[in-house]
Amino acid sequence: MWRSRLGASVASLAALIVIWQFSAYVAESRSFPSPLVVLATLQAELKTGALLHHVGATLARVVVSFFIAMAIGSTIGLLLGRLKSADLFFDSWLIFFLNLPALVVIILCYVWFGLTETAAIIAVAINKIPNVAVTVREGARSLSRDLSEMAVMYRFGFWKTLRHVTLPQMAPFFAASARSGLSLVWKIVLVVELLGRSNGVGHQLHVAFQLFDVPMILAYAVAFIIVVQIIEIGLLQPLEARANRWRR
């Protein structure tokens, strides 16, 4: 029906904005601003530089904790997927951490390590690591025995096997955990900021909440959605397309 994906998303987005505008018009309430009011707030915040400052702070936390969580989670996942005894032993730990509420981890990190940047990053990473580990473990379990035998016979050695045999097989699992990871991480970063940082989008939302400033809340939410979409379209999708170019 839609000639291009872009056309489809533009049309559906436009429809959403129209519905929002219409509902705001009907509701006529200060706590339900129209998209135009939100846009004006966004512009004002952009002009003062507050928006860039806070979005930048949040983004930096997202990036750092994302990479820490991916690195540690992937290593744990690969080990558990390859070593059966380790998997049996640590499986219940993984379930424990998977079901530990994010808020508990955040509060404990702040209590134990103080209201510091390090505590914030650790809290986000701990929340994300079990998810990465579980996804990557699935990938490591399904590694092709045929291909590893081939690599042995053709004397690939450790690094060549890792680069040309193991990691390409893991790519879809890395992509899946990166995707779900990014959205999870930035939501948790907001909570971390709300509870214990003095800058970032989460902190701004906290301030706006105390003032019941809904246009401000929506302006920061929209700004961050735009940033995440840019990362998704500009970075994740091209990377995924490149990793999948060999598929039929």
Binding site: E149, M153, Y154, F156, W246, R247
Partner: protein
């Protein structure tokens, strides 16, 4: 002639799985493989030919007995029953990966691709090729190494007849030009006679070597169907 390989297996069993008892696969097998010979392992499918090949390759270490190469540590290459190409690497990359970086043999990849008829598919990804073409790429990868011992597990099945015959000829010529020793598994008796200088017939449970026959045919006779059929009758009888 000297032996390049001695296989002495006392027993190989599959471990008990899910209520099924231990299953013996291979019995007492004691075979010496002479340098430069082309040994074909033949027998009914499922009798343990591929298992034996995996043991010789060193991929299966769970058996009683010993496999000794002379000299030890020489280059052994395995052309598997399925192509086992890396789907995320092109045909050319797949072949190049079988060689160490900067190896002189890299220069011969285009020639090898031409010999298996893949010069136009060099930059294609394996999954975009037919199974026959993937098999030929796997053969090129095995051949480029010029190993001293080449293990092959039914590498020509599911190829159309002219292609298979052309590749058999290529294999005969490659083996003649180097002193490669080949251990080749097939259940196709005509193929066995076409290629082999020695045929080991396997069978029974657990499988042992039931027959050991030499094949003395010239290159021209091997490429002549009538001569091959006649030799096959001599070796296997009329059954």
């Amino acid at each position: 002639m000297s032996e390049v390989l001695r296989i002495s297996i006392t027993e190989k069993t599959w471990p008990a799985v899910a209520g099924r008892a231990r299953q013996p696969v291979l019995g007492q097998i004691d075979v010496g493989i002479e340098r430069g010979s082309f040994v074909v392992l033949t027998g009914p499918s499922g009798c343990g030919k591929s298992t034996l090949l995996n043991i010789v390759a060193g991929l299966d270490k769970d058996f009683d007995g010993d496999v000794a190469f002379d000299p030890p540590g020489q280059e052994v290459t395995y052309v598997f029953q399925s192509p086992r190409l890396l789907p995320w690497r092109t045909v050319r990359e797949n072949i190049a990966l079988a060689l160490p970086d900067g190896d002189a043999r890299n220069a011969r990849i285009p020639e090898m691709l031409a010999r298996v008829g893949l010069e136009d598919a060099a930059d294609a990804y394996p999954e975009r090729l037919s199974l026959g073409m993937q098999r030929r790429a796997a053969l090129a990868r095995g051949f480029i190494i010029e190993p001293s011992v080449l293990l092959m597990d039914e590498p020509f099945v599911s190829l159309d007849d002219p292609t298979a015959q052309a590749l058999r000829q290529l294999l005969i010529d490659l083996c003649a030009s180097r002193s490669t020793t080949v251990l080749f598994v097939t259940h196709d008796r005509l193929e066995a006679v076409t290629l082999a200088t020695r045929i080991l017939r396997m069978g029974g449970t657990p499988a042992t070597v039931l027959g050991d026959a030499e094949v003395r045919l010239s290159r021209d006779e091997r490429l002549n169907r009538d001569a091959v059929v006649a030799a096959q009758r001599r070796i296997f009888g009329t059954t």
